[in-house]
Amino acid sequence: METPNPNVKMWQGNVACAEAALAAGCRFFAGYPITPSTEIAEVLSRRLPMVGGNFIQMEDEIAAMGATIGASLGGAKAMTATSGPGFSLKQENIGFAVMAEVPCVIVNVQRGGPSTGLPTHAAQGEVMQSRWGTHGDHPIIVLSPCSVRETYDMTVRAFNLAEKYRTPVILLSDELVGHLTEKVEVPPIEQLGIVNRKKPLVSPDKYLPYELNESDIPAMANFGDGYRYHVTGLAHDETGFPTNNPEKIQVQLERLNRKIDRYRDDIVEIETHYTEDADILVISFGSTARSARRAVINAREKGIKAGLLRLKTIWPFPDREIEEISAPVRKIIVAEMNLGQIAHEVEWATRRSKPVVRVNKINGEPITPNEIFNAIIAQD
């Protein structure tokens, strides 16, 4: 008999998220219980103290977001996890993390909305909220996993991108992926390519926490490192202090947005199946992409040239990839558990050059392969 491989686990998506965070170096988690994300907090409340890390259940999601940012400024890799209503509460402080350029990871295991909605059922209604939920023009990185293994990999990636680009990163999961149990072969830690924030190399008197440099990504000192600087959500200049000077504000906010835009090729990831000769392209993400994949395979078995484009990165939006891959196709189908939040972006990306058929569901039930298959074979 073969000896069982200790690196192979039967994990739920949420458990994989928690374990991946630990592997990525997360040593601080602040949360507030909410279905269907609670398992992440439960696992970390047990596991973090084992590695000398800190878990804290805060009084609400606003506090959890604030504590996460505070911990990151203190030098810890930090994460919080929530679902719909809690994600709404976090928005103001997410904007603070964007503006103050504090790396951190926010997990949103989507459930049915609006409002309290459907706590125990999946939805994908926060595509736009994850992009624009906090006020003001700002950049953001959002990743969306479709399996347990991918939840693991993307959680690690979320930390790496956060540290690399000094920004909050949102992991947009959903109830189906979060509660799905699958076999996972846990990759060895050396393969994770752990990234740590760039520390200043200059002496404290020369340190500019929001420096305009060639990379657009300023080095980050942790509080207590000997660099006494100021962090504020007010518009600030290179020194971090508030300013009303329009030129200084303009260059800082342009840099803030450019910091993500110019690295979009490094950030954007997609996956394709059978797209080379496809004349019908299905676009999907998260748990719905699993049904989409099955529908495409079924179509191929019937001799229909369908292909799948799965968005792994949601924001920045993979518009160029979509435009290129969809160029030869006759029709695009976007399957998502909302009323067309991605479909709308796809129409923009393809400049409405071809029909974009929407397969949507918002009643808590997953979109089935058959529903997508029917859209593939429908005469238009």
Binding site: F28, A30, P49, M58, D60, A78, N93, G224
Partner: protein, 270 residues
Amino acid sequence: MDYLQYLRLDKMPHIWCDGCGHGIILKSILRSIDKLGWDKNDIAMVSGIGCSSRTPGYVDFNTLHTTHGRALAFATGLKIANPRLHVIVVSGDGDATAIGGNHFIHAARRNIDVTMIIYNNYIYGMTGGQVSPTTPSRKKASTAPYGNPDEPFDISRLAQAAGAAYVARSTVYHVGRTDKYIEQALTKTGFSVVEVLTPCPTSYGRRNKEGTAVDMMMAQKANSVGLERAKNMSEEELEGKIITGVFVDKDQKSYLTRYNEVVEQARNAK
């Protein structure tokens, strides 16, 4: 002592109005820190939003100006991530007890190792004088033009009831006492709160005909009653009085002490 070593002089002039009491509290904080001889690199000052919450911008520490009401949440994460830091939160009455009220009582319950200095001017100064949770009944505010119909919070009693390890109240008139309380609070293990009453002549005094900033400070002097004396006074006698003194000074395990015990337990269970 040399205040200048703690100030970011290039950020002057500060935004505070002539006669604002906030600067008096800032000087008390600096004197207390100086007395303790702490290294500036080991001090973090965290605030929310308000005139009072602008304090961190003027001091040469690690400074964090967060969102309205949320300073304690950020400070909690910061202190836990780097326990070596002395974390001081400065907050206004609105910041601490309206929008931030929930964080305030939970910080006290947890006994998180943070010191909070609350600048209580009975009003939302920064936004132009709206009613706050500490505006006394019947006093006027821009959003209480007929007089405040509500009863105010007693911040120190609130902190006491919620479980803070150290709670004291003073006024900007009583500088010596304020210095002493802040120093005691800074050296306390666990959550310590110093509430300092401070005049806002611009947004509160003028509307309530309380005179100049000096008049408002003289009223603090006239109306203050020490905690011990207050114990023998009736409710009617205490009407309109400011009770000053140390409300709580107790030794109990702080958040970090308890959490370290959790870490020990988890490591042994492994």
